[in-house]
Amino acid sequence: MAEIRFAGYGGQGIIRSGIIVGKGASIFDNKFATMSQAFGPEARGGACSSQLVISENKILYPYVTRPDIFVVMSQEAYEKFEPELKEDGLLLYDSDLVKLKKKREKIKLYPIPATRFAEELGNRIIANVVMLGFFTAVTKLVSKEGMEKAVADSVPPRFKELNLKAFNKGFQHAQDGN
């Protein structure tokens, strides 16, 4: 079982990221995946996060308590949620948007300039998909094929190609040993 938290600010596709990974895991990889989103009564804007539990068995407790993996795309969200990451957890972050404060010893760091890569591909809105490609290669929790299907299934047809390009950009970045 793996507990994952995605976090950033409203508009970065943070909730969508949780949905895409959950879809990849549960529909295309035939595992169980439960996604919950947390937001306050003030609704949009500010730090936003989604939590995802992936398991081989039926998921009973739906919330993330101590994430194994923390994927973060904004400073505010990093500061808010970093302390709950497990001692030996994985931290995937947008290296242009998040400045690490203190480094906990056993935590494994995986930086990627996801937003910059997305801008180079022509649209910063796909930064989360770059991050998902990176996430897929780093964590190996969901198959590449499953994730590609989930990405393609979650975006309007005319943006499919661009999103898959973004996904592979992130995936390749991890393969290149970054």
Binding site: I19, G22, I27, F32, S36, L60, Y61, P62
Partner: protein, 417 residues
């Protein structure tokens, strides 16, 4: 009767519970939802509004919750299957008219995605504190049916069941889900239309001059006609006779109470065995039985597994339908077990009925939760451990606090002299 393929969006989806309920409503044949958006139920209304037009169904955003519930009763009288969607204060606003619907015996469904209360409470967080309100919220004597789903898939499946029960027993049916399940995203399988069983409206098709709108069939439920279809149809919130006429003189009132109000209660009570759905596991040799519903039953399973790993004989009774309450089942179990453990995201509601039906034969332990979250499986485990060790019979409801509550309210509030 099978579902109409036009209403069923067959496929495998990754959607939240709210959206799944919107899909379930359409699949059940719902033609009209009147609602007023309120967190955390809004996504269900949005989902229905999006898929309804293609299937020839309608969503109308009404001016408020009073209008929403009234529009639903109107639509039901006009002959269609119908639902409203709400939460928290919105549910409170609907109470008077729910009683009106119960009195008119119009079938309709209410989806309540429970949130933290009272008042505005915690709109984006979960709770199970409307359970008694669903049962007793409107004035006077009547019965309703309430179902508590625990996953998005169940929100699809049990929304269909809710519509079927509403049509069969002509009463309000409440889907008492909660924010956790409503906003939880999981795989949902929408089957083919021919795999979905649908209860049709009980239409009258005898001679026009013989129709009595409130004359019951053998199962105590009367047949309906569509308002405006040429039948003589008189409906009123007044206590009425079989014709639907209000009767206000003393003598006939006695007769009327017998023929209508009593029947509103009895048509559910006497059919309870057919209505009630329970999921019972490992109760045969159990010392302790966890009685739960909705999201709490799902979380409880983990606590139960842990207790069994420790060798405690614990079983589980999940109330899929919470109302009508399974009196007989609880009484029967109370004679065999040492204790019931009841986790609820409130400070004690359904536990009252567990205690009532155990007749002092078994200890009744409540694990209260103030809302805005769910029980941790360890809280369930800790209560089960206590229940299995307690050899004394203790009167009344025993409170077993969660770890979090112990931290905050170790001593509880004390009155000062």
């Amino acid at each position: 009767m099978k579902a109409n393929p036009r209403n069923v969006n067959t496929g495998i989806y990754y959607i939240d519970g709210d959206v799944a309920s919107g899909q379930g409503a359409l699949a059940a044949g719902c033609r009209f939802i009147g609602g007023y958006p309120i967190t955390p139920s809004t996504e269900a209304a949005e989902a229905f509004a999006k898929i309804a037009p293609k299937a020839g169904a309608v969503f109308i955003q009404m001016e408020d919750e009073l209008a929403s519930i009234a529009s639903v009763i109107g639509a039901s009288c006009a002959g269609v299957k119908t639902m409203t969607i709400t939460s928290g204060p919105g549910y409170s606003l609907m109470m008077e008219t729910i009683g009106f619907g119960a009195m008119l015996e119009t079938p309709f469904v209410i989806l309540n995605i429970q949130r933290g209360g009272p008042s505005t409470g915690a709109p984006t967080k979960t709770g199970q504190a409307d359970m008694m309100q669903s049962r007793w919220g409107s004035h006077g004597d009547y019965e309703i049916i309430a179902i508590a789903p625990e996953s998005p898939q169940e929100l699809f499946d049990y929304t269909i069941k809710a519509f079927n029960l509403a049509e069969k027993y002509r009463c309000p049916v409440m889907i008492m889900a909660d924010e956790c399940v409503g906003h939880m995203t999981e795989k949902v399988v929408i089957p083919k239309a021919d795999e979905i069983e649908i209860e049709p409206r009980r239409f009258y098709n005898g001679p026009r001059d013989k129709y009595l709108p409130f004359k019951p069939d053998k199962d105590l439920v009367p047949k309906m006609v569509k308002a405006g279809d040429g039948y003589k149809l008189y409906i009123t919130g007044h206590t009425h006779d079989e014709k639907g006429y209000p009767i206000l003189t003393q003598n006939s009132k006695v007769k009327t109470q017998k023929s209508t109000t009593r029947r509103l209660v009895d048509k559910i009570k006497l059919n309870a065995d057919k209505i009630i759905e329970l999921k019972e596991e490992n109760t045969d040799d159990a010392d302790v039985v966890v009685v739960s519903y909705g999201i709490s039953s799902r979380v409880a399973v983990r606590g139960i597994e842990k207790a069994r790993e420790k060798g405690i004989k614990v079983g589980s009774l999940r109330l899929v339908t919470v109302w009508p309450f399974p009196d007989k089942k609880i009484t029967e179990l109370a004679k065999k077990v040492k204790a019931f453990v009841v986790p609820e995201i409130n400070y004690g509601q359904v536990v009252f009925d567990v205690e009532r039906c155990s007749h002092g034969e078994a200890n009744v332990i409540l694990i209260p939760h103030g809302g805005a979250g769910v029980h941790h499986p360890d809280d369930i485990l800790s209560a089960i451990e206590y229940a299995s060790k307690e050899n004394k019979k203790i009167e009344g409801i025993i409170e077993h606090k969660t770890k979090l509550e112990k931290l905050i309210f170790e001593e509880g509030y004390k009155l000062k002299e």
